[in-house]
């Protein structure tokens, strides 16, 4: 089980946002994609989850081609994309947000179990079940967005900047949860982050993007100690 991306090229309007990108994410591992704003990280993720069309290249998950499939079909096959910002539906309650990924699942008993597990993981959501998601703080929204994905029992989780706009303490908490998803639930995770330091610390592998192209792929540890990467993306 692995995600293999080969020579992927994606345009964003007139701009080549992702240029001939190749990388592989092994099953049960956490790979982070880091790079500055505009490096093409989000476009890459949106292409993998079916929101964006690609110009060229191949991407497979467990050997099945995923490019060109509809996002709702990919979601149902276990590839869950938690998009950037606070991708909760503000007008719905916390409970309704969590229910969305269970609507189409046949095994209603497991949906109930998964929801209970999510509430155990993020107790604050349990306290806010009947509140509108719009009333949550940024950190709580991120927990809800991740929790909603978990209700679908995903095999591959694509996370787009979960730390964006959150206080350092909350970021630490979120990163810890993500790390546990991989270690305990054996979910494969692709984590797109601008917070390169935090992401590399919990990742197995790192992919560094610059202006749409891969400039470095290595183990997270190696990247953390690479002087060039440190200077460009970690700020010291």
């Amino acid at each position: 089980m692995s995600l293999i991306v080969t020579n992927l090229t994606v345009d964003y309007g007139a701009i080549r946002a992702v240029n001939n990108v190749s990388f592989e994410v092994l099953s049960g591992q956490l790979t982070t994609i880091i790079g500055a704003n505009g490096a093409g990280k989000t476009t890459l993720l949106r292409t993998l989850s079916g929101l964006k069309e690609s110009e060229n290249g191949v991407a497979t998950w467990n050997g099945d081609a995923i490019l060109g499939k509809k996002p709702e079909d990919l979601a149902r096959s276990g590839i869950m994309h938690v998009s950037d910002g606070k991708s909760v539906i503000a007008e719905l309650t916390v409970k309704e947000n969590l229910a969305l990924t269970g609507l189409w699942r046949k095994d209603k008993k497991d949906v109930a179990n998964a929801t209970t597990e999510v509430v155990d993981l993020f107790p604050i959501l349990g306290e806010r079940m009947t509140q509108s998601a719009g009333s949550l703080s940024g950190g709580e929204r991120q927990m809800l967005a991740i929790g909603r994905a978990l209700v679908a029992r995903p095999k591959l989780l694509l996370l787009d900047e979960p730390s964006l706009g959150l206080a350092p303490l909350i970021v630490e908490q979120i990163f810890k949860v993500i790390s546990n998803l991989v270690k305990q639930m054996k979910i494969t995770v692709v984590l797109v982050e601008q917070n390169a330091m935090g992401a590399l610390k919990i990742a197995n592998e790192g992919v560094v993007l610059n202006l749409g192209s891969v400039v470095a792929i290595d183990s997270a540890e190696t990247l953390l100690n690479d002087p060039a990467v440190r200077a460009a993306y970690l700020g010291f």
Binding site: S49, A75, L100
Partner: protein
């Protein structure tokens, strides 16, 4: 006193019809971000079907059900085979904003022309299932009939049904989620395209019901629902376009304003009142009188 009671009752029953058209427009707007001008055509076309079935079966009720069902079918068909291809093909340039709306206008003309070919342009009548003669209150007859009462009950029941569907069922949750956040809904595994078609079907059904409740008190001709489209649209704008509750409340406000100005000042004020309200809402609170707060931004 009788004049006042009559005005209140008439306001309620006309408001109820506006509410159906307003809800039909809001259902489509929420899911598709299009003001569906074809709604007037869809509603009258399915009312003609109801008329035909009523004559052939001899039963208004069979006609009513046919109108509602064919309305749902026509609405779903228009989205699936007309709107969806347009959205797929028109993806860039200024035409993106205009094409879908213009398409619904074209559709309105086409549907009305088709009606002309099938049924002709003459005025027809649909026999109401209950009396359309005014009720007797305190010894004098008022301009509110048993049929008006039936309209009020039918619309109230359909509102309750719609509320239950939207608030208490999985389908309703999918409808709301897809309307508020189509992308997040897709990423959550919801088939947003199919849900949108369902929204069009519900809107079409509401239009068919509106026609079968309105026409027996008026006449059946290809443009008969056009004026209701306008009133339904104004009601939807008063309610903020996005809210089903707002659509109903807006329709009631409009029903009362129009009927009271007609009763107490002049019947010539029906249209001016409606349009003055529209302008006032757009000037003072363009997001609609009932638009809710959006939640915290942090």
């Amino acid at each position: 006193m009788n004049q006042f009671i009559t005005a209140v009752l008439t306001s309620l029953s006309t408001g109820a019809i506006y509410a159906l058209m307003s809800i039909a427009l809001v259902l489509v707007w929420r899911s598709t971000r299009v003001i569906n001008f074809a709604q007037a055509g869809q509603a009258i076309f399915t009312t003609y079907i109801g008329y035909e079935v009523t004559i052939r079966s001899g039963s208004y009720w069979v006609g009513l059900i046919s109108a509602i069902l064919s309305g749902a079918l026509l609405g779903a068909g228009i989205d699936r085979f007309f709107m969806r291809p347009i959205f797929k093909r028109v993806t860039s340039g200024p035409i993106v904003m205009i094409a879908p709306v213009v398409a619904t206008l074209a559709l309105l003309g086409i549907i009305q022309a088709i009606i002309g070919f099938i049924w002709g342009l003459n005025y027809q009548t649909i026999q109401a299932p209950v009396s359309t003669d005014g009720l007797k209150i305190f010894g004098s007859i008022i301009a509110f009939s048993p049929f008006n009462l039936m309209v009020l009950i039918a619309v109230t029941l359909s509102m309750i049904l719609l509320t239950i569907v939207f608030q208490k069922t999985n389908i309703g949750l999918a409808l709301r989620a897809s309307a508020y956040a189509p992308e997040v809904s897709k990423l959550s595994g919801i088939r947003v395209d199919a849900v949108r078609t369902l929204g069009w079907a519900l809107a079409g059904a509401a239009g068919g019901l509106a026609g079968m409740l309105y026409i027996p008190g008026s006449y059946l001709y290809p443009n008969a629902m056009d004026v209701l489209l306008v009133f339904g649209f104004i009601a939807a704008v008063i309610g903020g376009l996005d809210s089903l509750f707002g659509a109903v409340a807006g329709a009631m406000i409009l029903g009362f304003a129009v009927n009271f100005s007609a009763t107490y000042i002049s019947y010539k004020l029906v249209f001016p009142t409606a349009f003055v309200i529209l302008i006032l809402v757009l000037l003072i609170k363009p997001s609609g009188v009932f638009s809710g707060k959006k939640g915290r931004k942090d």
